[in-house]
């Protein structure tokens, strides 16, 4: 029985390793990869490897499922584009939808749930109105939650489309307003790259930094292996096509106040996925890197999250990062009373 997700990381990093797995190990690996939403990426990575015939259909299913996710994500993005046409604003796709829309390696086999877009903050209410007109509705009609989102978050409260049952998150920046770092949303919008469809994606360095901010400054690292795989794939592709990528990345990290986060993520992705990274930006290894690795690999062969204490610590940390202590206390008190 596998005790952590190391085998998934190994298989993504060095697909040939799967040749040594027996049936029980494969069953563990598949459960882990599904739980981490990396089964599609794994299936693509294993193309061309002689996997056992019992496993082939599982991998084929995963590829087909993510093919459909890709089509649906692009369709959903186009629905949003059509809803916002009259506003003529820059609509920037984010995360998974951006990766597939820009046809990046990070989008290959990726599972995609909600549609995430970013618009300028002063366009937010106009965007909101047009989306409501086009059939999206509020998911959380709770007044406290609604006000909380509007006052302190980097996005509108989530909207769901009443016919297609798909969620959209409309961002105006990349991190909660209460978080420590304040990425420069204006600069991200300014540099965004226009696609043929008329939609935008972030410029390479910003796209990578958003992925990093999402993982290391905004969450409890649940599902972090997938996010870190995005980071690995983005880095490999961007660094290969642009000699100035690392310089640009360093400058943008400074601008967005994400230098320590960038450094941490470069060290972790190099450690786990063997990503070739710029050593200057990655900085010296820290003892706490091991804690992060411990947290990221917390998944056993049954597909369960384990290492409860570590996970809890990172969960508390994630709230700590998002808001100052007094505000956190008030927030948790309100949520507790309502529960």
């Amino acid at each position: 029985m596998m005790r952590n997700a190391q085998s998934l990381v190994d298989a993504l990093r060095e697909p040939g390793m799967v040749l040594s797995l027996d049936g029980a190990c494969w069953t563990d690996l598949i459960s882990i990869a599904r739980a981490e939403s990396l089964i599609g990426s794994l299936a693509h990575r294993l193309t061309g490897i002689e996997v056992p015939e019992q496993v082939q259909p599982v991998l084929k299913d995963a590829i087909q499922a993510t093919d459909l996710a890709r089509r649906q994500a692009l369709w959903e993005a186009d629905c949003a584009r059509r809803a916002l046409t009259s506003l003529n604003c820059k609509t920037v796709l984010m995360k998974g939808t951006a990766y597939v829309a820009a046809d990046l390696d990070a989008g290959v086999g990726r599972s995609i749930g909600d549609l995430d877009i970013m618009v300028a903050r002063d366009e937010l209410s106009a965007v909101e109105e047009l989306l409501l007109d086009a059939g999206w509705e509020w998911v959380k009609p709770d007044p406290y939650d609604d006000q909380y989102y509007r006052d302190h978050m980097h996005e509108l409260p989530p909207l769901i489309h009443r016919e297609r049952d798909r969620m959209i998150d409309v961002h105006h920046t990349t991190l909660p307003l209460t978080a420590g770092p304040t990425p420069n949303a204006g600069a991200m919008l300014e540099n965004a790259v226009r696609l043929d469809s008329g939609l935008y994606v972030m410029a390479p360095a910003d796209m990578l930094l958003h992925s990093i901010a999402h993982l290391f400054a905004d969450g409890d690292l649940a599902g972090g292996l997938r996010n870190l795989w995005d980071i690995d794939q983005l880095i490999r592709q961007f660094a290969q096509v642009d000699d100035n990528f690392w310089m640009e990345l360093g400058a943008r990290a400074k601008l967005h106040q994400l230098e320590p986060h960038l450094a941490r993520s470069l060290r972790l992705t190099a450690l786990l996925y063997g990503t070739p990274v710029c050593e200057n930006l990655a900085g010296p290894a820290k003892v706490t890197d091991n804690l992060y690795i411990h947290r990221l690999l917390a998944r056993d062969g049954w597909g369960r999250e384990n290492r409860k204490f570590t996970r809890q610590a990172f969960y508390i940390r994630s709230h700590w990062l998002r808001m100052p202590p007094l505000m956190l206390a008030r927030h948790l008190w309100t949520k507790w009373r309502k529960a």
Partner: protein
């Protein structure tokens, strides 16, 4: 973290690893699935997990939370004496959310002379009971939960899990089957009383045999016996609702289902007793080419 007991099950084309905090549901599964092919190699398409909702619920008022490779966020836990049902629901859940090799129809199916009869309808329509009954009268039982339609060949594949009898159907089958074919009686489940029966031996021995879909029925229990014509568009829409993975299969699902609707004769069937249903089915079946 507590270790899990586990066993492997093969049902038709699908292989499951069922993992559980408690040995009890696994012992029950092992007894009821005793004649199914045993796993030689520990591969599985899906893992099902049965665990306490909270760690202390392992011992105090034990409650079984169903999860696995595929899961629903709001699945209600079941008491430990219904853990067999939890295991069966867990396997259904994996198929419904994760299986892509066939178009899944929520239907029972039986086979004769290489041709399959499918019965679909809402819960309480009697599709499960009818399939169990026909299975004792010369038909081969193919499944009472999911009918698996192959997108490439249009053939039906068998998924002969335990047959799940509910409420009045339990007594009806107890009248004709020996006690050894029955699993434990579970009372007060979300669907009332439930008792599983082991499918006939040939259903398990021939579970790899496919059949050409030859007749589709929408049975409805409790009305004067009659066969009614159904329009193709109605059949199509009702089957999209009866399929758990029609949307997930995208264009393949559409192609497979439209071909099925175009080629398979279909009737709505009202009936008040097993004998009536059997008569109506025979009258239709004998007219098939």
């Amino acid at each position: 973290m507590a270790g899990l007991h586990h066993l492997y099950l093969t049902v038709g084309p699908a292989r499951f690893r069922v993992a559980s905090t408690w040995q009890r549901p696994l012992d029950q599964l092992a007894a009821l699935y005793g004649d199914y092919p045993a796993s030689q190699d520990s591969y599985a398409d899906f893992t099902v997990r049965l665990e306490p909702e909270k760690p202390w619920r392992r011992y105090i008022r034990p409650s079984v939370h169903i999860s696995g490779d595929f899961w629903l966020p709001d699945a209600a836990p079941l008491p430990l004496n219904q853990s067999l049902l939890a295991a069966e629901m867990g396997m259904n859940l994996q198929m419904a959310l994760g299986w892509r090799r066939h178009l899944l129809l929520h239907a029972s199916s039986v086979e004769k002379d290489g041709k399959a009869l499918l019965m679909t309808g809402l819960s309480g329509s009697g599709k499960s009971t009818l399939s169990a009954m026909l299975a004792e009268k010369g038909w081969r039982f193919m499944g009472d939960e999911f009918a698996l339609l192959n997108p490439d060949t249009g053939m039906m594949h068998s998924f002969p899990r335990l047959i799940s009898l509910k409420n009045e159907a339990i007594a009806a089958m107890q009248a004709i089957l020996p006690e050894s074919r029955f699993g434990p009686l579970m009372t007060g489940t979300p669907k009332g009383d439930i008792r599983h029966i082991i499918p006939p031996a040939d259903a398990v021995q021939k579970m790899a045999d496919t059949a050409r879909p030859a007749l589709l029925l929408f049975p409805r229990f409790g009305y004067d016996p009659i066969l009614r014509h159904m329009g193709k568009s109605e059949i199509f829409v009702r089957l999209t609702q009866a399929s758990t993975n029609y949307v997930a299969l995208g264009e393949t699902g559409f192609r497979t289902l439209t071909k099925f609707v175009d080629t398979v004769p279909t009737k709505a069937m009202d009936y008040q007793s097993g004998e009536q249903a059997e008569e109506l089915i025979d009258s239709l079946w004998n007219k098939l080419s």
